[in-house]
């Protein structure tokens, strides 16, 4: 147990260092000046440049530079955005929670809707309901997310006018970003009508959450269904049936838990897809998240921002994946290594 934890900690640290090294090497790979890519400051004169270069250790070898880079990252000195001039740590700490928040709701939707439907389809496998659910899920799964989001906007905003299109709160609410999570920020703000603001935030959440969540939900249905079918074919189910257990008893005693185990690692893969989709959808709904921010950075050729953004997003995704993996490992010790099944 401790050994497992230790291994994951080591693994996690190594992965993070590798990611940091990649982000560091980006400063050299990106076009433009290495010094500016690392700091986001364009020196006014040679004197200033020399001073900054010394501070970064630019005159020494790459390893020393990387060491300094790690030191600065840990100290919270991530450099400045060359487009806005603001500290990148601050920008990321505003944008990242917005993405996490959106993804969490979408994941929540996928789990709450997707898993029960998947169970249902799996138990009733090869029935009409199953076929309907299965074709519905494969259809939803095939939607390109940007197009799906546009269709949602067209139907729910422009035709029915039930949900707004952009942002996460009407701009008339002056809510200060404390945690970066809009729901918490609303509760923390003291100068607004909380009920009204929460309703407004929920209506803003509706479309982007559905746009991202639907595709992950479809994937969850398929994953769960497959897993349930696999479990149902196991000998112990046949044994239970021959013991005279009703199908409901079998389902509750044997299927639910056993089918859940293989789902977890597959959920980890879905996290990546989910965050990719979230990043695309953010641009369509002007959601002030990290995807929107990174795309703005690339359009504005803000290399320091890209360097840091890459690190932040990949670290987030890797952390989540490793946590799910570890969790999976802890509840299912029979598994000696990380396996991935098919959808």
């Amino acid at each position: 147990m401790i050994q497992v934890l230790l291994r994951y900690v080591v693994l996690f640290t190594i992965t993070l260092v590798v990611l940091c090294a990649m982000s560091f090497s980006l400063a050299y790979l990106f076009p433009g000046d290495v010094l500016e890519n690392l700091t986001g400051i364009s020196p006014q004169n040679e004197f200033q440049r020399a001073a900054i270069a010394r501070q970064l250790g630019l005159e020494q070898n790459y390893f020393v530079q990387f060491y300094y880079y790690l030191e600065r990252l840990l100290a919270g000195d991530w450099g400045y955005s060359s487009a806005s001039g603001l500290p990148l740590l601050e920008e990321v700490s505003v944008a990242l929670p917005a993405t996490i928040e959106l993804s969490t709701y979408a994941m929540f939707m996928a789990i709450v809707v997707g898993i029960p439907l998947g169970y249902y389809a799996g138990v009733k496998c090869y029935s009409t309901t199953d076929y309907t659910l299965n074709s519905l899920s494969i259809t939803t799964y095939s939607f390109p997310v940007f197009w799906f989001a546009l269709v949602l906007i067209l139907v729910f905003s422009l035709q029915l006018d039930v949900a707004p299109i952009s942002g996460r709160l009407s701009l008339l609410f002056d809510v200060e970003s404390v945690t970066g999570f809009i729901m918490i920020d609303i509760l923390l703000a003291d100068n607004i009508d909380h009920g009204l603001a929460i309703r407004d935030a929920l209506s803003h959440l509706f479309l982007p959450t559905v746009a991202i969540g639907a595709i992950t939900t479809a994937a969850m249905v398929r994953i769960t269904r497959r897993s349930v079918i696999d479990v149902m074919q196991r000998p112990y189910i046949a044994a239970a049936r021959s013991r005279g257990l009703s199908s409901w008893q079998i389902f509750f005693r044997h299927v639910i838990r056993n089918a859940l185990l293989p789902i977890l690692p597959l959920m980890a893969i879905q996290i990546t897809t989910l965050i990719t989709n979230a990043m695309i959808v953010e641009t369509l709904f002007s959601w002030p998240g990290i995807g929107n921010w990174l795309l703005q950075a690339i359009y504005q050729q803000d290399y320091p921002a890209l360097r840091v953004g890459m690190l932040a997003v990949s670290a987030l995704v890797v952390t989540l994946t490793i946590i799910v993996d570890l969790f999976n490992r802890l509840i299912d010790p029979s598994r000696d290594r990380f396996e991935r099944g098919t959808i």
Binding site: R7, V10, L11, I14, T15, V18, L26, L29, F30, P31, S135, I138, T139, Y141, S142, F143, P144, V145, F146, W147, L150, V151, A268, I269, I271, T272, T273, I275, T276, M279, I280, T283, G291, L294, L295, I298, Y299, Q301, Y303, L306, G309, M310, V313, S314, V317, V318, L320, T321, I322, D325, R337, F338, E339, R340, T342, I343
Partner: protein, 297 residues
């Protein structure tokens, strides 16, 4: 039976024939295959099928409605866009670019991924779980992020976005190949051929690869649907194919500017991408269940 048969001549269909039979028995999968075949045909014969050049601008015919609307004309089946280009021709060429570049990406990723995976799987010395885990961790980095980085380094463009997607697809091929090869290596028939004195290369080409091909086809179909979605997403975000190249995602993004006046400029490329991905997914799904059926029966 009219004919007398001395020996029992049983017909033994090859594994592929059995898979095909199972696949064909599912109507949905078959329809998916037909749609996919249509798209492949569009891609292959785009210059013959497209009534106009996808880049040809026609100043006199801006934003003509598609033929089924009362204001449309049959001359332009799907209408024209804001520069008077024929939408039907652009979509046909779009299929070619999107599906074609998707295929190239998948083949490339498959080739590289299988090579690395096989080496990792066959070299029993490399049993480092750290490398394995690291691969998994890197696999988790979103394609969009890789694409953004590559575009920042090399600049926007279809080819660069293809590189990005290839990079993103490689790890899963490595992963599957590696675990597959490792499992097979433990089996008796490999041991047999090894005892026969087969070299690792011979083992791979004669024993493992034929068994692996089905897994690769299934993984490939999965990867293709991801590749098509990603290529069009990058085109849509203006990181992939650049104007005036008719890539489906880029056509859709172009159409957004005239979405109110000419909604078909957004609707049609979107539906095309959707149908393309759907048909790939259905075929992939059909293949998988056909394989499963074959194995279980």
């Amino acid at each position: 039976m009219a004919q007398f048969s001395l020996y029992e001549e049983e017909f033994h269909p090859s594994p592929w024939q059995r898979t095909w039979a199972a696949f064909r028995s599912s109507h949905i999968a078959f329809i998916g295959l037909v749609i996919l075949a249509f798209f492949v045909m569009f891609s292959l014969f785009a210059p013959l099928l497209a009534p106009y050049s996808p880049l040809e601008q026609n100043i006199d015919g801006l934003l003509i409605a598609p033929s089924w609307q009362s204001s449309g004309s049959i001359v332009h089946l799907f209408g024209t866009d804001a520069l008077g280009r024929d939408v039907f021709s652009r979509i046909i060429y779009g299929c070619r670019i999107t599906l074609g570049s998707g295929l190239i990406t998948v083949v490339l990723a498959l080739f590289i991924g299988v090579s690395i995976g096989t080496i990792a799987g066959m070299l029993s010395g490399v049993r480092s779980s750290i490398v394995n885990h690291l691969l998994d961790a890197l696999m988790a980095i979103p394609t969009l992020l890789i694409a953004i980085i590559i575009v920042a380094i090399l600049g926007a463009g279809l080819v660069n976005s293809m590189w990005a997607i290839t990079l993103a697809l490689i790890p899963q091929f490595v992963h599957h190949t590696r675990s597959f090869v490792r499992n097979e290596m433990k089996k008796q028939y490999i041991l047999a051929s090894r005892l026969d004195g087969a070299s690792p290369w011979q083992i791979f080409t004669h024993s493992i690869l034929p068994n692996m091909s089905e897994m690769l086809v299934v993984q490939g179909s999965l990867a293709l649907s991801i590749a098509v979605i990603d290529i069009s997403a990058l085109g849509f975000l203006n990181l992939g194919a650049q104007a005036p190249l008719p890539e489906l995602g880029a056509i859709l993004a172009d159409g957004l500017d005239v979405a109110y006046m000419a909604p078909w400029n957004v609707a049609l490329p979107g539906i095309t991408i959707f149908l393309m991905v759907l048909s790939i997914n259905i075929v992939g799904d059909g293949l998988r269940s056909a394989l499963r059926k074959r194995v279980t029966h």
